[in-house]
Every structure is written in structure tokens, then in C-alpha cells.
Symmetry: C3
Subunit: 261 residues, 3 copies
């Protein structure tokens, strides 16, 4: 019995996700299908990659992660299955898998070409249902990686902008805004000076630095605070409110971090 | 072990759907409950019927499809269980099951009247929890169809407007707008001249015809395109954007299709 | 095999809920994880408590209810596991469990302090993933209550405002507005004169009384109606429309009920 997670930009208001689950359970009746999220903004490959990278390693080894954020569906982009040391990934070759792949050891990549593991007469607009779901289900049922198609040496990579160290300060950017309005940056605890709670953050073009604290409630309600968040990256928050709304933050905003050692 | 799918207009922000699952698992602990969607617009029987019809056949035979889009809850409309050749359906007799039933062979219809298979003291406002969920669970546990109530010869039908052929053009209408803003018409590949990718579509009151192509990305970003979509119907899309927003499309908009043979 | 329900304010657009499920399934592979809702308004402890109280008892005995509406995460509030006669509850000690606990018999409360049952190096911003999910999973796997930490005599209580009887009328308030715009009051069938369908409701500052009827469709479309709803409380609705929008209702609005005996 294995787990198959789903990460898509399909939303939940139509029948798309449910239909994929029907296809999976028809092929692999014992699979456990778990929704990671279906609310990736339509076609936003970076957001999908970030969500997957933040979550995949919390699942037990052997989990199959199926990702469909696929603005190029039906075109020339390849469809892939990737085996890593602990997991398998199925999705389009557009970079959406790559931030997760960066964090595990790739053992093999295959291009999905064997029609035997697709639904019959696959559409050119819904590969989630017709190609990716059945492939993930067959993989979960024990079909070996090599059966799905030819080996591929590498896949598309997506890179988050790297933090830069300039005159003692780390410069980075907001890369994700979550449901609470917390702005997650690309400043990682490992790469940008440790997760110490002593330091401050400056958002370009805005007043006064924001203090780093251990948790959101360490400042009074309504006050900005920066924390080393649960993804391992520095987050900018406002206690009890949306930092994105209150501070006008969005993906791409430059951020400067000063650590006090 | 059987699958029970749920299609409702309950949304997911309250406890309604979760409660139905609790009731089902209390009666049929081994049932797999799968969400088709809970975001049918409140009371929109046609949208519910369309979603169910688009998805039900992708589930394995034996699946029980439970549908609650039920603006007449507590009134005089009947509650039904319908056995078809491959599936069973449970829901109100208001047409919401009928587009799916049109695509499978009905073997029996029963009116839900046997109180033994309802929760005790069912409310008159939440039959999803008190009647439909327990009936689907008992059905999944092996209770025979005839136990639920008297046979009924037929049920309410809903019909999508039929495409019409006028002077060599098929006239139809938009019948569903999906999460991506794609406008799905009632022009089916089987009924309206095949799924060839040669042809064009004219939306009444708008400029220039829209070309039929094999997939969304076959036109430049931001350009309109018509494709034979994954539901088997012609869809009007805009590559990378919402056709509903860009072209001002909504359910009911008339559409004319010219096929080039 | 046991059921673990999830009630949070995490929404479903990020990876938070999916990650919790991964953690649970890594520890308790046979657990069935069921979403109650993740759309509790951020930090709204009362709404979370109300949703849990409305739903928990519809699950089979032995179900573990995991609740994370936790604006004080990382601060000094305690984290708890509570065993009641029929269920177990896991969540922060901020009152979010209390309306449910009021309806079952508490047999033991433990403060979550045993790091052995947390993820390693728990964050201070995502206890749902790092503390509550693993504890619920270990509990589901048979770890005894006492293993999680020291006994606690009581937990934080939340009380809905009590209805008051003044000159033959019951005075109450709207305490929850659901997805359909129905306004649920704190006037319970048991406490406020029975669930008879004879009577009327007056909303302070608005014209004309609203009649009590047995179901929404007992009045013409677009007309207001009060019903004894599926939670056991009086609801104010408008047939086929949103009462919240049409009548301008929100949480806290005073309501007067006159029962005709």
C-alpha cells in the first residue's frame, strides 16, 4: 500500500482532481491519495515547485509525489517520472519538480512514452487525468521505472534567486506569500547566517527595520516581526494580521537581512 | 471495500462535508470516501449534473456516487438510489443525477423511504448527513437496493440544450465555465461533426472567428483558441488566460461552429 | 485502524495540511485522516470551537479529533490531549476544544511535553506539523495518554453567550454564519422552548417578525424563514438566497424569539 500525493493548479471547484483520484483507484485500489494542495495559482510553476519542496520530505519514504502545474500541456514539453533516493515524482518537465529534486538524490529519470500506462486515447488538454494519474498508479502498483519510457539524463531546473552577501548584509527576496499573509523569503537559515533570533530585516523602500524573533507572538499584536519559519526560510509576518496586506509585500520584493552575531 | 464519491454545493468552509464522512465511516468503516467537488454553486443543479457526468465514469465499477445539490431539501422532492450497469447513485430527485444516468444503463430506481437506513430523527435541512450519507454507506456495506424503499419507474431529467445544425453551422451554447476560465460548450465531438482540428468558432456578437486547434498552447499566449476538450465537448480558451474574463463568456452564450471537412 | 479528523485555519492553498497528513501517515500508516474543515477564519477560536462541536459526535467512537486554530503558537499557551468518554482531542489550550468537551465526559487531560512524540527540533511557528500531528498519530497507534505529559486538572473554556428569557421572549444572538448565508443563533431547541415550528423571530432593528417553519422551502423563494437547524440551534435563512446578505446579518446580531405554545 503506497501513498500518492497530488499537487496541482486545478482548484477544487471542478471535477478535475476527483477524476484523477478515480483513475488512480481504478488502477491501484490500495493507494492512499493525499492532497498536498490544488490551489497553486494557475500556471505558476515556481509556486508549485516551492510548495512541493516544502512538503515532500514529511511523507514516508516510498511516497509518490504527483505534480500537475502544466501550462504547456499538450505541447512539446516532456512528461517525466523521477526516482530519487526516498521518493518518486511524476509530472511535466517544466521545472516544477526541481526544487524538491535538489533536496534528494536522483537515481533515475524516465520520459513517459509507453502508451500502455496511459488512459486510452489521451486528451491533449488533461494529462493529469490521462497520463500522470495512471502512470503514478501503475508505479504504485509495482511497475518498474524503466517500463515507462526511455532514460533521460537530466530535467528542467528552476532556481530561486540566490541570496547575496553585500557589505555584511544578506540580500534576498520574497518568494512565496502564504494564506496568512506571511511573506517567505529565499533567505535560508543554512545559507544566510544561521537561525539565531538576533538580527533585523529591512524591506527596500519601507521604514524602520523589522526585528527577528522566535515566534509571531513575540511582538505585540499588529506589529511586524521576522521569524525563521517552518520551511527553514526567513518569514516576514505581522502578529495576528497579514504582513502582505499591512506591509504591501508580494513575490519579488527585495529584502535585506542583518544578523547580529 | 468500495468507493463513495461526494459531489455537493456545501463548500468546505463549514463542517458539513466532514460530518457526512463521519456518518459514512461509522456505518461502513472500510469505505473510501473521495471528494469529487463541494464547490458547485449553491443550488445550481445543472452545474452539479454536469460535473458528475464529466467524472463518474472514470471511477472503477461498483463506485457509489453520492450527490447533494438540493435546493428543495425538506420539501416534497423524492430522495433516490439508482443502480446502473456500472455504478450506483444516491441523491435528490431533481435532475442532478440525470446527465450521468443518460450515459449508463439504469437497472433500478428506489425511493428512499426506509427509516431504518437514515440517522435517527433526521433533520429537514441536512439530508446529506441524515439520509443520503447513511444510505450510501449501507449500500456500500451490502444492503440490497430493494431494502431502501419502493421501486420508482423514472426520475427527473435535466437536458442540456441540444446543438442545432443551421445552414452548415452547428449552433450551441456555453454550458459550464471551469476554474481556468475555459468555456465548455454543449457541442460534442460525436454530435457536432467530429473532433477534427480543422474549423472555427464564432461567438455571437464578437469579432473574428476563433480557430480550432489541438491544444491551448497551439496559439500564442493571450490568443483565443477552441479545442475539443477532455469532457468530449468543444471548449473556448485563451492560451494562459481566462477566456471567460477576456472574452466576457458565461453560461448561456450562443456559439456557432463551422467544421472544415 | 483509527480515524483522525483535522480542523484548522490553515486553508488549503498552501502545503500545511498536506504536510500534517504526511507526518501522520509516517507514524500511523493505517490511520484514516479526514478533513473536517481548514477554512476556519485565521485565528477565530470561537468559529473553530463551534465547527468542532457541531461535527465531532457524528464520527465513530474512538475517533481522534485534531484541532489547530492557534493564534498563540510558539507562545506560552499549553498544548493538550484530552480523552473523553467516546473520543480523544488534540490541540492548543485556548478554548477551541471546549464547546465539544462540554458535550462529552472528560476522562483525562494531559499537557503535551514529552519530546519523544514530537518531530525532532520542532519549529515555533508550525506546531500543527511538528507537535499536534505526530501526537495524534502516536495516540492512534496505541501510545497511552499518560505518556504524552503531566496530567492537567482543567483546560481553557469558551462559552457562547447564553440565551436569556425576558418577558416571555428568548433573547439570543447570531453565533455563526455558514456558507449558504444561514445565520445560526445560540437559541437551542433544548434550552429555548422546544423545536416546535410555531413561533416567530425578531431581529433587533429590522422590520417584521420572521416565521418559524419546518424547512427552508416552506416559504416562497426570497422570503426569510427561521428553522430549527441541523446543529440543534435556530437558524435564520432566506429561501434560495443568503440571509446574511439579504438581511445584513453577522455574528453578534441580537435575536428575539417568541414561541407560540
Amino acid at each position: 500500500m503506497s501513498i500518492i500525493t497530488l499537487t496541482t493548479d486545478f482548484g477544487t471547484r471542478d471535477w478535475f482532481v476527483g477524476t484523477m483520484k478515480g483513475v488512480i483507484l481504478g488502477i491501484a485500489p490500495k493507494a492512499q491519495v493525499i492532497d498536498l494542495t490544488h490551489e497553486i495559482p494557475p500556471g505558476d510553476v515556481q509556486a508549485g515547485a516551492f510548495a512541493l519542496a516544502a512538503a515532500f520530505a514529511y511523507f514516508p519514504p516510498g511516497t509518490i509525489h504527483l505534480v500537475v502545474v502544466d501550462p504547456g500541456v499538450g505541447g512539446s514539453r516532456a512528461a517525466l517520472v523521477v526516482q530519487t533516493r526516498h521518493y518518486a515524482f511524476v509530472g511535466p518537465d517544466n521545472g516544477v519538480l526541481s526544487l524538491a529534486l535538489d533536496r534528494d538524490q536522483i537515481q533515475g529519470i524516465r520520459r513517459l512514452e509507453n502508451l500502455r500506462y496511459f488512459l486510452q486515447a489521451p486528451s491533449r488538454t488533461f494529462h493529469g487525468r490521462d497520463i500522470f494519474a495512471p502512470v503514478a498508479a501503475h508505479l504504485s502498483s509495482g511497475v518498474p521505472l524503466k517500463a515507462f519510457g526511455p532514460a533521460v539524463p537530466a530535467c528542467q531546473r528552476l532556481t530561486l534567486p540566490n541570496p547575496v552577501l553585500v557589505r555584511g548584509r544578506w540580500g534576498g527576496a520574497v518568494v512565496y506569500v502564504d494564506r496568512f499573509g506571511n511573506a517567505i523569503t529565499n533567505l535560508g537559515a543554512e545559507t544566510s547566517g544561521g537561525s539565531g533570533s538576533s538580527g533585523r530585516v529591512q524591506i527596500r523602500g519601507r521604514k524602520g527595520p523589522i526585528p527577528i524573533r522566535s515566534h509571531y507572538g513575540a511582538v505585540p499584536p499588529g506589529r511586524p516581526v521576522a521569524v525563521w519559519g517552518s520551511t527553514g526560510f526567513l518569514e516576514i509576518a505581522v502578529n495576528g494580521q497579514s504582513a502582505a496586506e499591512r506591509l504591501g509585500l508580494a513575490c519579488g520584493n527585495p529584502v535585506w537581512l542583518t544578523i547580529h552575531l
